[in-house]
């Protein structure tokens, strides 16, 4: 069964460092998302991406964040200068958005970011 894969599973970084989280969405999906979940809290929307550009972003997704689809398969989230409060689990998700779209988002297993 096709799945969304994310790397790394866990990254520890020092405050102020740049971090890149990588995702390989399901191959025939057209919409891509990043969500984050601070430990014990709800899953929060960060950004959606379609046709090589951002469709929507939340207030959390400030200038420190950027997304990119550098090739036909990878979808990355970059945090330019990490802060302690960026520590969270980051989930990538994709959605086919075709005529058969059920509205389901397919989530990866997440990348845990720990900022020290």
């Amino acid at each position: 069964e096709p799945e969304v894969t994310q790397t790394p599973s866990h990254q520890v970084t020092q405050m102020g460092q740049e971090v890149i989280l990588r995702c390989v969405p399901i191959s025939n999906h057209l919409y891509f998302y990043w969500y984050r979940q601070i430990l014990g809290q709800k899953v929060e929307f960060l950004v959606s991406f379609y046709n090589n550009e951002i469709s929507e972003k939340s207030e959390i997704f400030d200038d420190q964040f950027s997304v990119e689809r550098p090739d036909g398969s990878n979808f990355t989230l970059k945090i330019r200068s990490t802060k302690l409060e960026d520590s969270a689990m980051y989930f990538c998700a994709s959605n086919p958005r075709t005529g058969l779209d059920t509205g389901e988002l397919f989530f990866g297993e997440g990348s845990r970011l720990t900022v020290l």
Binding site: F45, S48, F91, N95, F107, E109
Partner: protein, 113 residues
């Protein structure tokens, strides 16, 4: 207005019992209401979903009840099993957007053997 409020925060049920989790929303533009199940260390996975044109949807032991006028929806897990122990999130999609999910705060369900 984009919030989805979920309760209870945690729920303990005996095996074979009924688990009920409730959610409420304010934004009338929401038009798709999924429930996601999340096991520790895993990403959320779609469990069951409903659109506002129906009042109930059942899949196996899982049922969503939807009350459009009250802007509430709930998940019922019949014959709860220890394997159902997980965190459950209700969510909603607004129409007319890139359809990002707005999640509730989650309910940690523990089913005792």
């Amino acid at each position: 207005q984009q919030q989805v409020k979920q309760s209870p925060q945690s729920l303990i049920v005996q095996k074979g019992g009924i688990s009920i989790i409730n959610c409420a929303y304010e934004n009338t533009a929401f038009d798709y209401f999924p429930w996601y199940q999340q096991f520790p260390g895993k990403g959320p996975a779609l469990l069951i979903a409903i659109r506002p044109d129906v009042s109930e949807k059942k899949e196996g032991r899982f049922t969503i009840s939807f009350n459009k006028s009250a802007k509430q929806f709930s998940l019922h897990i019949m014959d709860s099993q220890p394997g159902d122990s997980a965190t459950y999130f209700c969510a909603a999609y607004p129409s007319g957007s890139a359809r990002q999910l707005t999640f509730g705060s989650g309910t940690q369900l523990t089913v005792l053997p």
